[in-house]
């Protein structure tokens, strides 16, 4: 049955007129589909949404109608070639099973235990999930430190016997960084080209200087004592700052003084 529904939808999309065949309340502009899928936290969330749209009590859901809407929705998503989590398909199968059971004549003797009734199980899960959803919403409106209020602090008087803050040995820092690198390398998405540390340090130094004095002669950033290596480091740092959009170089006239300044000065 699911295949059937999907087949219809797919065909309809190819013909370019899929939307007229969808129930009115299921109409979603195709552009919005991905956004909407992102907005649902899973099949239970989607089901709850469909049920709530009909103003139905979960206890009294019309499984046939919900199944129809759900499978059409899933079918539409599939037709649009969205990656669907397996959970959505499992739910579709479960709904189809409940629906097919409902179509069968009532057995004379209820051999099926209440606990095994898939409809009761679905309702239980929906009710439970809705509780979690409600509690998550309730949690989010509780005033939270740093978002809704700040801790009130006054500076402590300085005294010698202050509790020693945690000590960090340099080896811990190196270890933390190499572990971090090892982990980052595992995810190929983070292939970042990194400059030499001396360049990064020089970038910081330049920004520090610019914090004190918002415009500097470029020549002030080079120092003769540092020699050629120092010059290269400064030069690379300035190039990198400009490339990352942190600083701008300004020259009033060809051959004139070059100035460096932060990209935006809003003070």
């Amino acid at each position: 049955m699911i295949n059937n529904v999907q087949g219809e939808l797919r065909l309809a999309v190819v013909e370019g007129s899929p939307l007229t065949q969808l129930p009115e309340d299921l109409y979603i502009p195709p552009d919005a589909l991905e956004v909407i899928l992102d907005a649902f936290e899973g099949p239970l969330d989607l089901l709850l949404y469909l049920i709530r749209r009909q103003n139905l009590d979960i206890i009294r859901i019309d499984v046939a109608e919900i199944t129809r809407q759900y499978t059409q929705y899933i079918g539409l998503l599939e037709a649009m070639r969205f990656e669907l989590a397996a959970e959505y398909l499992v739910m579709a199968a479960m709904l189809a099973e409940i629906k097919s059971r409902a179509l069968l004549p009532n057995p004379v003797s209820t051999e099926v235990d209440e606990a095994e009734d898939p409809r009761a199980e679905l309702i239980r899960r929906l009710l439970e999930y809705e509780k979690v959803k409600m509690s998550a919403e309730a949690l989010d409106v509780i005033p939270r430190v740093d978002r809704d209020f700040q801790i009130a602090l006054a500076k402590q008087p300085d005294f010698d016997v202050g509790a020693a803050p945690p000590q960090v040995h340099i080896s811990e820092l190196v270890l933390a960084f190499s572990e971090l690198l090892a982990r980052a390398r595992l995810s190929s998405a983070h292939q970042i080209e990194w400059e030499a540390l001396s360049t990064r340090q020089r970038m910081t130094e330049v920004l520090m200087k610019l914090k004190e004095q918002p415009e500097l002669k470029l020549s002030n950033l080079f120092s003769r004592e540092e020699g050629r290596a120092g010059l290269v480091v400064s030069f690379l740092a300035i190039l990198e700052l400009v490339r990352e959009g942190l600083c701008a170089l300004v020259q009033a006239a060809p051959g004139g003084q070059i100035y460096i300044r932060p990209v935006r000065q809003d003070v």
Binding site: E41, P43, V132, L139, I151
Partner: protein
Amino acid sequence: MSDLDLKRILEGALFASRDPMSIYQLRKLFGNQKVPTEGMLREALTSLADDYQSRAVRLIEVASGFRFQVSDTLTPYLANLTDDKPGKYSRATLETLAMIAYRQPVTRGEIEAVRGVAVNTHIVRTLEERGWITVIGHKEVAGRPALLATTTEFLNDFGLKSLDELPNAGDLIVAPTKDLLDQMGIDSE
């Protein structure tokens, strides 16, 4: 020590501390001599809270003790000072946190069963690093999955004294089943 002195000492200590201070810590202020009783401390704290009734900061009690916090009516003004917006948590993160808060101790599998989707490792790690949840043991079933629970810091950061103060706690908090507590060797009474 006069009553005023006691209040003043508590006031200064509370403003000097970023973390809430418990009665135990407040008593430590007095070293070995003339340590006030808990009753005296509570009385002084109540009176101190009254003093700040009409001011921009409030003295409140949270899970691990007492702290001064800036009244939240000032938040819009403070927001003008910085460009950084406070982090917003995704629904998935909030639902995971809610599951842990309302049903602790709970395993990832149990969260997944209720939410109907896999719980992303990043979500658990984010909540752990925020200091809001922690692993408090392992469930004695196949795979020994970690049992997650909220921390005192979670209560402090949400301005709560205990989990009972969570909204709709009566309806939503699910007491751990007796056999789970038995498994963990915890008295369910």
